[in-house]
Amino acid sequence: MAVPMVETDASARCREIIEGEPFAAVERWKGTHPGGKAVGCYPVYSPVELVHAAGLLPVGLLGGGNRIEIAHADARFQSFICSIVKSTLELGLTGQLSVLDGVLFHSICDPARNLASVFARNFPQLRVEYIHYPQNLASPQAVTYLISELQRVRGALSELAGQPVDDGALRESIALYNRWRRRIEDLYRLRRTSPEILPASESYALLRAGTMLPVEEHLAILDDALARIPSRTGKRQDRIRVVVEGAFCEQPPLDLIAGIEEAGCYLLDDDLLLGWRWFTGPLPGDGDPLLALARSYIDRSVYCGTKHDVREPKAAHLVRRVRELQADAVIFLCAKFCEPALFDYALYRRALEAESIPHLFLEFEEKMWIFDRMRGEVETFVESMLFR
């Protein structure tokens, strides 16, 4: 079904990085940066600009995928807890996080919050910080609060780095990440306009590698990919146009994403690695950089299952996105036991049904490696839409 596509060097390299040893790129960075320290960023959103401005390497701490066997962590977290919590702990309990010097956790859900405590107790050599993001975004006080919280995190990161993080450095990091996020947006735009030449699995691999590399290095990779991919040719196939929703935290296996595409879908947009492309536009480059980060979080960030904003119902965003992209359907790709995603689904379903937008609900686990049944479900769904 799929047109075989020659990967660009950039894409091939990214695939190698994400399929290779976890954190090998971080080890490499440390090799060339003596005394350099790395900070793991648990999903969903971390203020990576602060980490970068401190001279630290922000690294995605995104679970163990489908190549880790949970042998210890399941004695600490029960069977009804999502996989990423357990696989992340397993990485720590098996010594695979020794490359990290600090970890940021956030107020996304109860298991992730408790994981921060379990990390603090079990890995005393790690600096563990827990960030509480405001959940009353309608309040004028939220921005003041968030500035104070970011200031606290800045202090913690300064301590870890052994140097202060001044506003100038932070403004530079903000400018750099603005450029980086713009490239990612370019990638998504290309995928939306020409999905036949850029599969979602490839754009995902390109982005995912960025969670493991220094931003400067990854920016060059994206530049290269964006220079080459548009010259590809591909024939538009008879596929449905889909928005994927629900995988903003635990990540599905790459082969599952490819499998869904090959089952007859163009995945125009998704919420994979959502925290790494958190803002809907560039952050202000001048003025108080903490204010820029805080204000942007409150007024210019994407909607997400872990962010609650009473100013507008979440489902309205989803419906709007489907309409804007002229998508045919929504595929919910929710991690097993992910309460935020599973709760959202009930409201999304209601809104989509009211709008007569077809949708399919799929539940995945990062550790799965056989996708036949799921692929079959997608094929049936696609057929029901193409031949109705």
Partner: protein
Amino acid sequence: MSEAPKTSYQGRIHLLQKELMGEYYDALTEASQAAAPPAAYMLISGNPVELVRAFGMLPVYPEVNALQIAVKKQALPYILKAEELGYSVDNCAYVKADIGLYFSGRTTPFGVIPEPALILCNYVGCNVYLNWFEHLREYTGAEIFALDIPFVRDPAGVRPEDVQYVVAQLRELIAVCERLTGRALDWEYLRHICRLSARTGELWAQIKHLTKHTPCPLDAYFDAVTLMGPLYCLRGTEAGLRFFEEAYREVQERTQLGLGPLPQERFRFVIEGPPPWPYLRTFRDQFSRWGAVAVASTYSTVGGLWEFGFAHDPERPLESIAMHMLYWNLTNRDLLRRYDQIRRYVQEWNADALVIHSVKSCRLFSAGQGDMREYFSKELGVPTLLVESDLEDPRYFSEAQMRNRIDAFFEALEHRRLDPAGGAGR
């Protein structure tokens, strides 16, 4: 162990509690018919009920409604109803029972739940609260106020910025309540309510310290939940205070007489986690048959940690309401602070063991309890039992399995007592 004495303690407080909770639900029913006074939906964990009462609003607690349904063994149809609407089997069953109830006419055997005038989402630790009230807002169309309470995440405790943030939000909330009720806040009345709450909390704290006695005068889990109804639903009222005066008298009397909830107290345990409401009696009996009494429980501190020094301050009502939500409750504290709390219980309440009741619905409580078991059993040498079921969904309670686990645990404890050098149970 053959058949043993079942729970027998049914004191005055149990009867009085029934009466008061009946009156509370009668008031809800009346409000649902008259559409007045305005109902404010709120959550149990450290909440600003004092402020809500100052406006004459009626506090409604979806958690309490859900657990009452579960105790009456009527939760399952509501849970299934919510699952039909798209909620997952893996979502919190409190939420599902409540939403199932909402779509079934809000009518329970104990009262009719009024529609909300205000959905006051006091986000104190539990992230599911946010989803829950977001959904209720969607279904009811009522006004929502998301009261954001920063989690305790600084080793030093609550940060001054956090207190300012919460107090500033409380001022916004006051403006909302003034608009909804059409009346200005009477600060003197608020102070009066805070005085009632302060005195109520003090008595509750004294009761909890009385359970250090041997024998323990009341079960700090199975009887404490009886007291928690009035603590939450009637805190800040004269009736609530009178109840706690009566309760304190009774527990003190029992302490002086050397009376416990069981004819003989053989084991003292600390229990962590919410109860299995649909099987409360069954669960209790599984401990009672071993002469095991809960001397302290973390669940009874969800709504407040008065026993460790909190009191509302009538002179600084907003700041003390903020501190109650920020710091003086179990749910807004991290897991390691909970370990400390349990460690204090084991030591100061002189317990033989820790029982962890791990419930699927409430990940705030349960996520990571395996690590807690590791800490207590391996690092502190406290005999620890971890059992699993649920707080609302009856499908997760297996009576025989539960009984086997509890029997094996206490049998091992008994062996260890008879033969301390033998290392039984290790």
